[in-house]
Symmetry: C2
Subunit: 138 residues, 2 copies
């Protein structure tokens, strides 16, 4: 975490209270918060932080590659701080719970050259959908 702040500082980031709080909120594994959720948690620590700042900071973290934007949900974007270990997502179709998962093999390799149509393919996003044990029991 503090290494994240160090990295950001190294990139010329001005280290404000707001940015620190956003970074802290995003710390941890299996964290997939929406911008509004990040804002809600940030407000607990820094009541006057604005929505615009949260959006700005999240956008900056994404373009620096420190945080991933994931679209598991068809509504709000979610922000995943686990950007440095490649992984995919498993989503419960009922309750929306999200788990990080690690499929075997590299999904990028599954796209043959003949199916690339001249694109330079650099990234792949995989979302598995199903029903989690808790929803299945209920």
């Amino acid at each position: 975490m503090s290494d994240l702040l160090e990295r950001l500082r190294g990139r010329g980031w001005r280290l404000t209270a707001q940015r620190r709080v956003v970074a802290e909120v995003l710390d941890g594994d299996h964290v997939h918060l929406t911008a509004d959720e990040v804002h809600a948690r940030a407000v607990e620590r820094l009541p006057e932080i604005s929505r615009a700042t949260v959006y700005n900071t999240l956008g900056e973290l994404v373009s620096l590659g420190e945080v991933l934007e994931v679209a598991t949900d068809r509504r709000a974007k979610r922000y995943d701080p686990n950007a440095h270990r490649p992984h995919q997502h498993l989503v419960c179709a009922r309750c929306g719970a999200i788990r990080d998962v690690h499929p075997s093999g590299n999904p990028l390799a599954d796209l043959p050259e003949t199916e690339r149509f001249g694109f330079t393919v650099s990234d792949v996003e995989v979302t598995y959908r199903g029903v989690c044990p808790r929803c299945a029991a209920a």
Copy 2:
């Protein structure tokens, strides 16, 4: 196409001009329109069709399994009429162009049992991202 209308009729659909137009607009390969684009094209043929009807009809087509909702874009949902042949999507990160692609193997099989955490996994959505030849040239 007309077989789609037949199928819908068979399911007890009341066949209105509006629904017919929406179905016609969605006909074809590599069609990935947003709801608003569908509406815009529908209006050309049936000027008084409302946005609400387009949304309703698209939602019905999706729950009947005749059309897929895809979230390649981080903004609006896109509707893909090619629901009966499994495929994935390749998206240009610059211009947003979308191609249907057919990876080798079944992506669902790449998720080992140990990575399923008790979920009943039923579906997988794969989005490849890259730069299309036209954007690369520009």
